[in-house]
């Protein structure tokens, strides 16, 4: 099974690489691990890399929206890395494409 979450750190940045499927079931543990890293490291930037995600439903959108709020709480910015065309479509549906920065590597 694809590793669900890999956390790494670079200076003032926390990088959360999510793999596999993001549904309501898996989002619970991914969310708590990212939040733990966020509040422990207090970074300036949180990067969520979803390039290895092969399925996501609205629980994934909720996960991203929630991390945006948590990042704001500590004065950090959120960057969404490697979203697929499908994920971008869902971000647009929720209007998140206008408020979340995205990048490709």
């Amino acid at each position: 099974m694809e590793e669900a979450l890999r956390l790494s750190y670079e200076e003032d940045t926390v990088i959360a690489e999510i793999g596999g499927e993001i549904d309501h079931h898996r989002a619970v543990s991914v969310r708590s691990q990212i939040d733990e890293a966020l509040f422990k490291r207090m970074p300036k930037t949180l990067i969520i890399d979803i390039g290895r995600v092969d399925f996501m439903d609205s629980s994934g959108l909720g996960l991203i929206m929630g991390r945006l709020a948590k990042a704001k709480e500590i004065g950090a910015s959120l960057m969404l890395r490697n979203p697929s065309a499908r994920v971008m479509r869902m971000l647009k549906m929720a209007g998140l494409d206008r408020i979340i920065q995205t990048t490709k590597t």
Binding site: H25, F55, D57, S58, G62, R86, M93, A94
Partner: protein, 150 residues
Amino acid sequence: MPKKALNEIRCTFLSRSENEALARSIISGFLLPLDPTVDELADIRCAISEAVTNCIVHGYRGTVGTIVLDAKSFDDRSVRITVTDRGCGIENVARARMPLFTTCPDEDRCGMGFSIMESFSDRLSVTSAPGKGTRITLTRKLASPLKGST
């Protein structure tokens, strides 16, 4: 000429969150012999995941009940999928279907479940009665295998 049913399944499972992935696997197994496009399969898997999550998060909130997944395919390449729970029901279906409406914002629910189900199906109907449960029915016509893309 009325369309003819080709295949039909009914599965019953508990409203445990690990069964969200199970429901997606079941519907994939049902659809694959129909030769859907990659996008069609992904759309329907996502819509079913939303419907089942709705049963777990809202219908049976904090309790465990049963979810029934029915799927039926027809000779015009349409499929009709129904997800039914006997949970708490929805008081105001029209409000629940509004984009970004959620009753649990503190749990990272974004209120896009019904919007995604609507977007990924040709037709979506929601019937619900408070205290009795909710039934979500989506229909989607698959492209011809010869004309299908992706």
